[in-house]
Every structure is written in structure tokens, then in C-alpha cells.
């Protein structure tokens, strides 16, 4: 259900990005007459992709399904709480759509910065709907996080010690802790924004002694862990897949697990690198530059360990492996531009340009979505009992891989040249690369259509999946049960005595 919600949201959010790209294909206003409408599109695209595609897909979908399977538990610790997490997310999506359709909609960007989001500049109810939508989504995330942590810490099968857990389980554990500690801060900040808008408080209003920068602090204290919330489960999936198709255990298992813990931990102390231009003093900025760069170290550990896992392995490029390899390549691009942006001096130039857009679309829209797709192809047999068509899957990969690169790579050039984000029009000088970028969007859209066809093909006419379609490389517990996995798996708890399962 989470995965269905995620795919539906992806189509809505993706459709919006397609509209954005069409508008930006050539200089001048194409068909969005009202810039506010453009901003609403941008806002909704961002919120939907983050909260209703990547998070439900990776965490709700694959996490809920495979964490219990992989640790040898019959189900999650609190199944009803899991259920309400899902329904709350659906309700939040309804509210967000309502927000978009109410009045002139929320044109604030997904970050809701005041003063733009306050009652002077957005006096209608749209922003309130948006705030409450995030409240519900946040409640859903917190309950989900409690569920994951309890399940992983309390319900491992006999012999499944922490250091034998598959890396995907480790990734979910770290993610759940990030959610648990970051999301309530957003809830607090959203509540302040709500009372500022409706009950006369002045948390973010300078005329009452408040501070708009406070919002940015609180938002990014949540927002930075949030980006790791989206990418760490992806790390987990990629680790499983790379190991399976290289037919080798993951290189440096403990290093991989604790690299994720380190990324999660450092993720909490780097938030102000989103705020280099708000007037922080130079020492503060120096600290945040340094702390941000340190994250590259555990991330590097992960990249090199994946490569070392492949090294000397007997690699089989099935579709999941193609996407996993694509993930690694593209995440490196996004990671490297991240190190560039970590420098406060340079970021002052690049802030709010397409360079930033290109950076986070490489790590999220490309890398995180590649991981989602990897997970889909890797586990669809286990989930539905039917295998996907291999050749079509490979075509899907190549279309998407070429498409996203044509789409996002030119945006680096646009950003360095100074094209700002969140405007529907631009000077003629930026015309060429924008056209290429929009062509990339066309190719990617074709890939997406093909993906929908593949989903339909798999469900309607896919070959019946064996318990383990991947052979000797797939050593985790989920491959020991039938496909599709029964309602409550592991009725008899498995006993684990081997070395790290991956």
C-alpha cells in the first residue's frame, strides 16, 4: 500500500516537474501566466516528492516489508501503529492536494520560509492546510520510527545479533532514529508558524521581537537530517543489491554499518550550511563548513566499500544491479557538488541557483529514486510472486540513466552562470541548456511510461517467482521464504548462526 501511494504520488509530483520543465524549455512565459501558480507547482512538487514519494516508498514500503523478514520476525512490533502511519500519510496527501487547490495555493517553496509564508503574504487558508498536512505526515513518521526501532531492537530472531543484521536493517535503524529526533522539531516549528499566522504570536515576526532566521534554524535542524532520512535507506538497498549480484559479502560490513551511524550523527550538527547567506558570523560558518565536509568521509567509506564489494566479484548485471551501479555513479556526482556547496565562500555565489537544484536532484531525484527503482526490481518477485520482464527493465534503466543526466547535468552550468531557482522565466542567455534539460525530461518521462508498462506487465503476465531468483549471492532471510511472502512470515523463528548475513 505504501508503494502504491508512493507511485501515485510520484506520478503527481513528476507530472508537476514535467509542467515546470515545459515552462522553462524556452525563455519567456510559455503557458503559466501567473508566477504564483508556478511557485505553487514548485512547492507541491517538492513536498510531494520528499514526503509522499521517497519517504513512503523507501521507509514505509520496503522498510515495513523487509525489515521483519530480514531479522526473522513474524511482523512489525506494533502492526496497528503501522496501519495508522499509512492512513495518516494518505490523509496528509489529501490535505496537501487541498492546499494546492485552495485560493491561490501555497507559493512558499517546500521550506515555508517566513515572511513569505506569514499571514501578510499568504493570507488564505492554503498555507495552513500545508502546515497541517505536514503535521499529519510528521505524526505518521514518528509513529513509524518508534515501530522500526522497537522491531529491530526487540524482535530479532535467535542468533540475529546486531552485527549480523543485513545492512538494509541497519540503514532503517539509523533512519528511524533520525526521524524520531528530527521530525518533532519540525512539528514545533510548524506549530509556531501556525500560531504566528492565526493567533498573533510573533516567533518569526521582527515587529514583535521575533526572528525569521529562527525558522530557518528550526527548519534545517529538521531538514538536514531529513535528507539523510531519504538517502540512508537507499544506501541499505544498494548494499544488499551490490552484494547479491557480485556474489560476495559486502566489503567492510562493520565500517558500512557504522558509516551510516556516523552520517546520521553528523547530520544533526550541520544544519546551518543551508543558511550561509542569512548573516551568520564567520566563525559559525567556518564550523559548519568543516562539519559538512566531514560527512564526505563516511560517505566515501560507503562508496569505496561498494566498489570493493564488486572488485573481484562475479558480477551479473540484472536490472537491479544496473540501477544500483547507476546509483553509485550518480550519487558520486551529487556528493561531489555537495562538497563544493559546503564551502561558505562559494555557496554565497551559488545559493538559490540551478547549481543547488542540480546538486540535490542528483542525490534525491536521481540517486534516491534509482534506489527506489532498484528495490522495486530486486524485491518485486518476493512481494508479488511475479518477476518483472528482464529486457524491458534494462531498457528502462538506460532510458532513465541517459534521461536524468541530460536533464540535470546542464543545470550545473546554468547555476554557475547565475540562473536563479523558483522563477518561471529567464534571460535569453540561459536558453540553450534549458532546452537540453527539457529534452532530458522528455527522455525521462518516456522511461517512466515504460516503467508503468513494466509494472502492469509484471502484475498481469509476470513469470511466477521462485523463493530465491538471484542465486547464491542472495543470502538474507527474505529469500528463505516463499514468494510472495506469506502474511505472517517466520511462524517458526529461524535460527541464525552465520557470520554477518551480508
Amino acid at each position: 500500500m505504501y508503494i502504491v501511494l508512493s507511485i501515485v504520488s510520484a506520478l503527481i509530483g513528476g507530472g508537476m516537474s514535467w509542467i515546470i520543465r515545459l515552462e522553462l524549455a524556452e525563455p519567456g512565459i510559455q503557458f503559466i501566466q501567473d508566477p504564483q501558480l508556478y511557485n505553487v507547482m514548485v512547492t507541491a512538487h517538492g513536498l510531494i516528492m520528499v514526503f509522499f514519494v521517497v519517504m513512503p516508498g523507501l521507509i514505509g514500503g520496503f522498510g515495513n516489508w523487509f525489515v521483519p523478514l530480514m531479522i526473522g520476525a513474524p511482523d512489525m512490533a506494533f502492526p496497528r501503529m503501522n496501519n495508522i502511519s499509512f492512513w495518516l500519510l494518505a490523509a496528509a496527501l489529501c490535505l496537501l492536494v487541498t492546499a494546492g487547490l485552495t485560493g491561490t495555493g501555497p507559493g512558499t517553496g517546500w521550506t515555508f520560509y517566513p515572511p513569505l509564508s506569514n499571514s501578510t503574504f499568504h493570507s488564505g487558508p492554503a498555507v495552513d492546510f500545508g502546515i497541517l498536512s505536514l503535521h499529519l505526515a510528521g505524526a505518521s513518521s514518528i509513529l513509524g520510527a518508534i515501530n522500526f526501532i522497537t522491531t529491530i531492537l526487540n524482535m530479532r530472531a535467535p542468533g540475529m545479533t546486531m552485527h549480523r543484521m543485513p545492512l538494509f536493517v541497519w540503514s532503517m535503524l539509523v533512519t528511524a532514529f533520525l526521524l524520531l529526533l528530527a521530525v518533532p522539531v519540525l512539528a514545533g516549528a510548524l506549530t509556531m508558524l501556525l500560531t504566528d499566522r492565526n493567533f498573533g504570536t510573533t516567533f518569526f515576526a521582527p515587529e514583535g521581537g521575533g526572528d525569521p532566521v529562527l525558522w530557518q534554524h528550526l527548519f534545517w535542524f529538521f531538514g538536514h537530517p531529513e535528507v539523510y532520512i531519504m538517502i540512508i535507506p537507499a544506501f541499505g538497498i544498494i548494499s544488499q543489491v551490490v552484494s547479491t549480484f557480485s556474489k560476495k559479502p559486502v566489503f567492510g560490513y562493520l565500517g558500512m554499518a557504522y558509516a551510516m551511524v556516523a552520517i546520521g550523527f553528523i547530520g544533526f550538527v550541520v544544519w546551518a550550511h543551508h543558511m550561509y547567506t542569512v548573516g551568520l558570523d564567520v566563525n559559525t560558518r567556518a564550523y559548519f563548513v568543516l562539519a559538512t565536509m566531514i560527512i564526505a568521509v563516511p560517505t566515501g567509506i560507503k562508496i569505496f566499500s561498494w566498489l570493493a564489494t564488486m572488485w573481484g566479484g562475479s558480477i551479473e548485471f540484472k536490472t537491479p544491479m544496473l540501477f544500483a551501479t547507476g546509483f553509485i555513479a550518480l550519487f558520486v556526482v551529487g556528493g561531489v557538488t555537495g562538497v563544493v556547496l559546503a564551502n561558505a565562500g562559494l555557496d554565497v555565489q551559488l545559493q538559490d541557483t540551478y547549481y543547488v537544484i542540480a546538486h540535490f536532484h542528483y542525490v534525491l531525484s536521481v540517486a534516491a529514486v534509482f534506489a527506489l527503482t532498484t528495490g522495486f526490481y530486486y524485491w518485486i518477485g518476493k512481494m508479488s510472486g511475479r518477476q518483472y520482464p528482464e529486457t524491458l527493465g534494462k531498457i528502462h534503466f538506460w532510458l532513465t540513466f541517459v534521461g536524468v543526466n541530460v536533464l540535470f547535468f546542464p543545470q550545473h552550468f546554468l547555476g554557475v552562470a547565475g540562473m536563479p531557482r523558483r522563477i518561471p522565466d529567464y534571460p535569453d542567455a540561459f536558453a540553450g541548456w534549458n532546452m537540453i534539460s527539457s529534452i532530458g525530461a522528455l527522455i525521462t518521462a518516456l522511461g517512466t511510461l515504460l516503467f508503468l508498462f513494466i509494472v502492469w506487465r509484471t502484475m498481469a503476465a509476470g513469470k511466477a517467482a521462485e523463493p530465491n531468483p538471484w542465486g547464491v549471492g542472495a543470502t538474507t532471510l527474505e529469500w528463505s521464504v516463499p514468494s510472495p511472502a506469506p502474511f505472517h512470515t517466520h511462524e517458526e523463528l529461524p535460527r541464525v548462526s552465520a557470520q554477518p548475513a551480508e
Binding site: 492546510f129 499529519l136 518508534i146 512539528a187 514545533g188 516567533f203 521581537g209 521575533g210 505472517h488
Partner: protein, 270 residues
Amino acid sequence: METTQIKKHPWHMVEPSPWPFTGTVAGLLLATGGVWFMHDGAPWVLLAGLAVLLVTFFGWWRDVVREAERDHAHTPPVQHGLRMGMVLFIASEVMFFFAFFWAYFNASIPALSFAASPTWPPEGVVPLETWELPFLNTLILLTSGATVTYAHHAILAGERTRAFYGTLLTTILGFLFLGLQAFEYGHAAFSIEDGIYSSTFYLATGFHGFHVFVGACFLAVCALRIRSGHFTPNQHVGFEAAAWYWHFVDVVWLFLFTAVYWWGSYGFKG
């Protein structure tokens, strides 16, 4: 982890339940009704949402209590999980208050923000007298922390009457605190619309007050359950959760008292 004979594992596989769905309906009604109300509409949708929410809470937790008492579904490993869940929930609550303390210090310490007030309390604000009502409330909450521990020890010793009165007394102290807090709000020299001092004051203490209310209700339910003989020295997760929650509320108050009431009025020059 020993396995049982019939099920082959100690975990609790719950039956399907309507409450997650009704809870979501409540959330949707609350949000929609809230927006409508805040934009000068009628409060009915909001109140309906609240009603559905209360029914959901009642039904959901009634089912959980039944599963514990009637079905004996809460084996020791399941109890361990429930406790863990409660601790994690409290951790997330701590982070919620963290946001409000951040707002408070951001406004009051110039080293943290250029926008902070040069004096604290800001000029023109007349804060509450720390050592009068707020201090009395501190004593009340600290006493209630002691009485809840008294009740806990009574449960461990299997003395139901003492446990009942200990819990009841804690609940009463909680509501007494709330009454005094309401009195204090009524007599404060500033309203919620009077700038950053009152914004942080009312939201931080207000959310704390709400948590006191929730904790007191939780304890009241525990008192009723003690009277029905639900808790044994070996199995009283519900009470433990309520007690932990109560201590959490207590600690938040100590921070509020120290930072907002005491330190926050220190710079006041009459």
C-alpha cells in the same frame, strides 16, 4: 527468547482493528476543521474531529487493555517492546519541547541571534513573580513525582489500596497544578499577542500544561485499572508508561521554571 508451545514464538499478532482508520478520520477532521475555524468559520468540524479522536483513543486502548488482561497477549518480550516504544515516544516529545526552548533562547540571548532582545525580559514586559505561584506549582509537581513513585512501590509490593491512593493523589495534584496555571494565565500582565516574550512563554508553558493534562488523564485511567486489579507486581506496563510520562512532564517543568520563570525574570528592573 524462549518460544511458547502453541504459537512457536512469543510475539503478539494483533487482530485487524478499525481504530487506525478512525484515528486518521479524526486527524483529517481536526485539520480541516482547524483551518476552517482559524479562517473565521464555525467550530463544528473541529469539535467533531475531537470527538472522533476521543472515541478512537478510548476504543483503541480499551482493546489493548483487553488483550493484556483477557488474552494474556503481552508476554515478557512484548512488554519489553511496549516499554521501548514508550521511551522512544518520550524521546520524540523531548525534541518537540527542544524546538520551543530553542525559540526562547534565540530570542533572549544576543550571542545566539542578532535579532535577540538586548534585555530579557524585553523592555516593557512585566514578568510573573517567580517565587510565588510558579514556585508553588514547582513544589506541587515535585510532590506529585514523589507520590507516583510511592504508588509504583506499592504496586511492586502488591498493595492495591496504597497504589490506588498514591495514583489518585498524583492525579489530583496534576489537576491542581493545571488550575493554578489557568489562574496564572488569567492574571498575567501580558497576553499571547504581546510580542516574542509572551509568544515563547505561552506556547512553552501551554504545551507543557497540555502534557500535564494528558499525563493526569493517563494516571486517572491507571487509578481505575488498579482498582479493577489489573496491575500485578510482574506486569504493569501501563502504569510504568504513565509514571515515566509523568516524570518527563516534571522535568520539562523544572527546565521551564529555571529558564523561563526564574532566569527569564532575572533582568527585570521593576
